[in-house]
Amino acid sequence: MALLYLIVYRTSQATAVIAALALVLMVGFIAVEIVMRFFFSTSTFVQDEFLGYGLSICIVWSLGYTLENGSMIQVNLLSSRLSDTTQRWLTAIGSAATAFVILGLTYMFWLRAAKAWDRGSVSATSAEMPVWIPETIIAVGLLLFALQLMAHAARHITDHPSPAPAAVLDHHDQ
């Protein structure tokens, strides 16, 4: 099981690296757009659309990494008073229930992507991006997140430590 947890976590980490690259590209895209607008009075005309695609990679592809590193906010006022075993089971049940919802959502995005593919839908911009691409990006990200959630649930049932490095665990920001 330890190997399985590690493989799922490494996958989450790898997709988070892709998300980080997307963030770098978003910054670069905006810099180019501002330079074009300010110095050459023209535009890429697709900034908003591509920032949207970049953002969906940023958010959805780093969900598993964020979750396993303990960065998702919890209110553990009451649960912290429960025994370790009860806490673990509550976390496992909650993770499994969330995984169920995310899997349902993944299926919906799969249906949306398949419909866009069949119809040959493209975005209503000059880029004419095939709609199935961003829909599939979200579907894949959600599927990987559901996997991480199921691994999280199983890890708590088997009382296995997190494969995430301790240095980044429980990082919260507001």
């Binding site: 908003d48 780093s62 829909e135």
Partner: protein
């Protein structure tokens, strides 16, 4: 009556999930699905279709891209020597004011808030230098901790502010206007804190050590050099928005580029800095964005169950004056502040609070600033007060002592709320001046 039952049921289920220690985003998502299924009588396919559309709309909303970029900028600044420079740069100037270096907390946080949208980052960055320096030099520990806890929360009010971006998107208000609206209330709160430190220091000189250090003119020039990188970043970020060169989202990218230029010029650039700042930014921004998406689903759920409209009708039937409504909402937010973090408070309460407040005739921009101030107060109230946690970690003192030290500053923020309510122009005059009414 049915809507009232639905409202209690939704919040009841939400409380159960939250109490069980489930993540806030998951609690909100699950309560939405459960409510639509059991209370709304929808089948799972329809729920999936509705939720899918909302997730698609928000996950690819370009306006949200400001969040990861502003956080990345803050992470870059947080991981470099900017805070040390800030302390060195402010020291000669504040030494002339009663309270001396205690003002590095308030002024440091005020300045740092202008390049960071987060109160935790502001408190942690300024606090990692000032607490040690102030303690070592014999300044009153309570006043040092309290002023830092209070002033750190200014990170939420002074633009760029992450909570204001979240509010702007959910309330469909201009983020640039909200940023402009936060400037003077932020400075007002900062002024209240500074005034308090001055008065306490004058009434009780033993709070401040007798310091024989005299600064020469050269020290002031050198101090300006230390402050220059932060001032440059402030001017570039805010200047790009208000000069019309960039939108708030684009200004975030400008800020990232500028901060990278600064770290290269100050020879602090490294691959490790890039990786750590990027991954830190991803963790925080994903946490906020998924919360926003879940909140949008909850908001739609409440709409389907007619909760906001019926609660608004119910409250309207009480014939409360606008001030009565505001007083009740303030107590409600104070209560939420004891339990939840700022972003969770905004996303959970807005679907009900915003229609009420606009119906009562309050300006939504003013309400955004008021809400941010309430959230600032939440950041210094136990048991869930993020600034208190940061300072507990930085000083090693128990949370109770940190909270007691922060209490006078919490009280000053209550004064600030009254001032904003009595004089709404403190909020509105600047955005009106820049963007027109």
């Amino acid at each position: 009556m049915e809507a009232l039952f639905s409202a209690f049921a939704v919040f009841g289920i939400l409380l159960v999930f939250l109490s069980a220690g489930l993540w806030v985003f998951a609690s909100i998502a699950l309560v939405s699905v459960v409510s639509l299924y059991f209370l709304g009588g929808m089948d799972l396919a329809r729920i999936g279709s509705i939720t899918g559309s909302i997730v698609n709309r928000y996950a690819s909303a370009w306006e949200l891209s400001a969040i990861p970029m502003f956080i990345w900028m803050g992470e870059i600044v947080f991981r470099t020597d900017i805070s040390m420079r800030l302390f060195r740069g402010l020291s000669p100037f504040v030494s002339m004011i009663p309270g001396k270096l205690l003002h590095t907390n308030v002024m440091g946080c005020t300045m740092f808030a202008a390049v960071s949208g987060s109160s935790t980052a502001t408190t942690a960055t300024v606090g990692k230098i000032t607490t040690r320096e102030l303690f070592n030099r014999g300044y009153d520990k309570s006043l040092a901790i309290g002023s830092l806890a209070g002033a750190g929360s200014l990170g939420l009010m002074i633009p760029p502010s992450l909570v204001m971006i979240v509010y702007g998107i959910l309330a469909e208000e201009s983020v640039a206007r909200l940023f402009a609206a936060g400037v003077f209330p932020g400075l007002m709160i900062s002024g209240l804190f500074t005034g308090y430190v001055v008065i306490r220091s004058l009434l009780n000189p033993s709070l401040v050590p007798i310091d024989e250090q005299r600064f020469k003119l050269a020290d002031f020039w050198s101090a300006l050099g230390d402050l220059f990188p932060l001032l440059l970043l402030m001017v570039v970020v805010l200047g790009s928005i208000y000069s019309g060169i960039a939108t708030p989202s684009e200004a975030a990218a400008v800020g990232v580029c500028m901060s990278l230029v600064i770290v290269v010029l100050t020879r602090q650039f490294s691959l490790r800095l890039m990786i750590e700042s990027l991954m830190g930014a991803l963790r925080t921004s994903t946490m906020i964005c998924i919360l926003l998406i879940a909140a949008a689903v909850l908001s739609t759920t409440m709409g389907f169950l007619h909760i906001p409209a019926d609660v608004a009708t119910g409250i309207a039937s009480l014939n409360l004056s606008p001030w009565g409504l505001l007083a009740i909402l303030s107590l409600f937010y104070l209560g939420l502040g004891f339990l939840l973090d700022g972003n969770s408070i905004v996303v959970m309460s807005l679907p009900i609070a915003l229609p009420l407040i606009t119906q009562a005739g309050f300006d939504p921009i003013w309400f955004g600033v008021y809400l941010v101030l309430m959230i600032e107060m939440a950041a210094v109230t136990p048991p869930i007060g993020f600034n208190l946690f940061v300072l507990q970690g930085a000083t090693g003192y128990p949370i109770g002592r940190v909270a007691r030290s922060a209490f006078p500053f919490f009280a000053l923020m209550v004064v600030g709320v009254f001032l904003l309510a009595l004089f709404p122009q403190i909020v509105l005059w600047f955005p009106d001046l820049i963007y027109g009414k």
